[in-house]
Symmetry: C2
Subunit: 456 residues, 2 copies
């Protein structure tokens, strides 16, 4: 740690808010990016964050905010300056059932919010693989998605209000749970998804929902993505918001997970759907009604979970795909979304283009078909972990050209970070990027907030 910065920090931070060494904070979880920092801090109060930002603003010292450091695009890896870890700002501030809202510090772990909501008889619906270690501030910074977006929206849709320390140390605080509030341009949504480049989110008011009392989970095999989309439209038309999850896995993805998990495939099929209905009221007939609907419409290649244990087995098969594919070696991953109506066109077109360009390439497709977002991971045979980056631009170009041709996006739920900066101009016009720069310049004239991230 740079000693003069450290000396300055001691004027307004307690000794235990300044960390001597934390190498795990300097590398992202995929071990793709490693950074360095002149100082590592972990403030325990909003006031400390404000003083830190004031100091860094005056001295033009870069600040990288970091939550659980579970991001996949390198947005929380520092490049000098101060690494601002939010983990010690981790309180539940209040729960308010009349407004169905919970107010929390940004550094609280997602799972702790889920648990606090459940203890109050409510659901906080954001759910994703890293929920045991990712933090609310990071979820806000990258507008996290996950398994329940179909019903409850992304993090953006779950935030009623924000508390943000601006780059100059000023506090902007809107923590009243207001469901209607139209007073000028909506700045809350500028901060959500801004990946730490506009300020430090220190607190948030989040929406709560009723806890599910009835859950029905079914695994359905289908012949094509067209059929999967027809199933989605059918189930949504009948069960509407009861449909919480509609997950897709290709035959190859499932085979990997089945081997890895030592769990047999629920059904044999080209494409697999894990769908889950939830109702906030007791319903004895929901499962039957779903089974009848599936049978009546030719979706008989299906298995319904008969117990919570069986449900966990089905979810384990879905959740283990990420871990199982690591046996294939190094991959080039894509976090994309396309209009659901064009998912089949995308998957067919992209596979064909990739096989032409990279014969023998292996493709693991899975994800949240119910909201149009897919994890699209590619494995080049015989290419080593380090060698894979040589091919990255070429593979990305094929994948993203196919995504864009289908009206899709290059970043669905993991953000831009460092890894996708050069692709931003393919989805945002020059005028839009100029507006983003103007927003950034107004709030952060010295470009100290997470420099080098998001904007190309």
């Amino acid at each position: 740690m740079s000693s003069h910065i450290k000396a300055a920090l001691r004027q307004f931070l307690n000794a235990d808010e300044i960390i001597e060494s934390a190498p795990q904070w300097l590398t992202d979880q995929r071990c793709r990016y490693s950074g360095r920092a002149d100082a590592l801090v972990q403030p325990k109060s909003i006031n400390a964050v404000q003083q830190l930002m004031r100091f860094c603003f005056q001295n033009k010292i870069p600040v990288t905010p970091q939550g659980g450091n579970t991001g996949l695009c390198g947005a929380a890896v520092p490049d000098g300056g101060v690494l601002l870890n939010l983990s010690k700002l981790n309180r539940i501030r209040s729960i308010n059932l009349a407004d169905n809202a919970i107010t929390v510090d940004a550094g609280i772990v997602l799972q702790a919010v889920q648990q606090a909501a459940a203890a109050a008889g409510r659901l906080f619906p954001l759910s994703l693989a890293s929920e045991g270690s990712c933090q609310i501030g990071g979820n806000i910074a990258c507008n996290a998605g996950g398994l329940n977006v179909l019903r409850y929206g992304t993090m953006r849709d779950l935030v009623l209000g924000l508390e943000v320390v601006l780059p100059n140390g000023e506090l902007v605080q809107h923590l009243h749970p207001l469901h209607k509030n139209t007073t000028g341009y909506d700045l809350r949504h500028l901060f959500i998804g801004s990946e730490g480049t506009l300020g430090v989110v220190t607190g948030a008011v989040l929406k709560l929902f009723a806890l599910p009392k009835t859950v029905e989970t079914v695994w359905v095999g289908v012949d094509s993505i067209e059929q999967a989309v027809a199933l989605l439209t059918l189930v949504q038309g009948v069960f509407a918001e009861r449909l919480c999850s509609f997950e897709l896995a290709g035959r190859f993805a499932l085979a990997l997970s089945s081997d890895f998990s030592r769990i047999g495939k629920p059904v044999d099929a080209s494409w697999h759907i894990l769908l889950e209905l939830a109702d906030s009221m007791e319903s004895g007939s929901l499962g039957e009604e779903l089974a009848e609907l599936l049978l009546a419409h030719g979706f008989g290649n299906a298995v319904a979970a008969q117990s919570e244990t069986e449900r966990r087995v089905l979810w384990t098969l879905r959740e283990n795909i990420s871990a199982a594919q690591r046996n294939l070696g190094a991959s080039i991953k894509h976090d994309i979304a396309v209009p659901i109506a064009r998912a089949a066109e995308f998957v067919a077109g992209c596979e064909s283009a990739l096989q032409t360009a990279f014969p023998g390439i292996k493709i693991v497709v899975f994800g949240h078909l119910g909201d149009g977002s897919l994890h699209y991971n590619t494995f080049l045979p015989g290419v080593s972990d380090n060698g894979v980056y040589e091919y990255e631009d070429a593979v990305n170009t094929v994948v993203y050209e196919n995504v864009l041709a289908c009206g899709g996006t290059v970043a669905a739920e993991h953000g831009i970070g460092m890894v996708k900066k050069q692709w931003l101009p393919s989805v945002r016009s020059a005028a839009e990027i100029a507006l983003m720069r103007a927003v950034k310049a107004e709030l952060d004239p010295h470009n100290i907030m997470n420099p080098g991230k998001l904007l190309p």
Copy 2:
């Protein structure tokens, strides 16, 4: 119409896109503001809007976009320049059931979108008093709310994508139905709620939902707003997203509407709640379950609609409050929201403060308690229609001070327009307003887009 502007417009607009006279466009619906325009245009294509904006940008001519002209804050009243009426851009572009999305022109009337959705077996849930004449572009511009926000959110929550002509004529088009897309700062949400000051919204992709198949409507009398909030929490905890509407009316508001409508009061009580549950599935027992819950928790002073006719009668009582109160004379109206948990505190505190400052003042309170927004209208005895504006600042000061003390907002669902500009600094900090100005300056350097609106 200024003849040289008109001659210039003829170079890129058809004869029927230039309107000779339309006095009804120059005055707002409350007849509070009257403006003037050098030219009235009604383009029939996006290209015509682009050419118009290019011309106005080059010549620094103000442009006021206007939809159904149903706004209550004067945001669509021109002050010279071009009045751009969007009414002829009124097509449904497409409906896509796989993505549960409808793509429309901005000038389409809200009710036409509701009807097109219903014809496709889906629900477009935005619903408000002016739905027969207000337009989607206007709903987006002021982030409209209405009756179903509790379940479906405000207009902001219903917009998946936007098409906007920028002040310089450039088109920004994001009309693919993407439910997950995090690619830089979210500019969509800047345009939503910007009241025509940043560009011209010409099209939008909107979310659709399942149509309700079971509807249960109940009128409940309660002794206090505290009881009403307890009822809301109870019903939401059990029926969750089935609760679509939770409307409040005070005893005085209901008496006015009852007389005006020639419909007897459903129950006698200090405060009245109209609540409606809807389910996308057939349910024979929903009404019974609701009745049992109400009885079990002491909410027995209630009447349930036994038919669609009875349901319409209850809704008529609620909807006629606005018309009925006109018999009281001129009013000073407030479109406010407070945290639901503090609604009782606000209503008691504000009434007491108003009666002290203006003895004999009459207060009509009604609105959407389920989302915390209230119509709070005040009538000064013996003050004429013209005389009322003399008292406006003084009454507003009392009301808004009480709103702010309870963590509320001065503008819930009607926007800022001209009428509330001076109150913006009471709910947004100087830094936030500076950021708004920076956004405005970047997109609209000559300040031609709806000048004089929204920003103080």
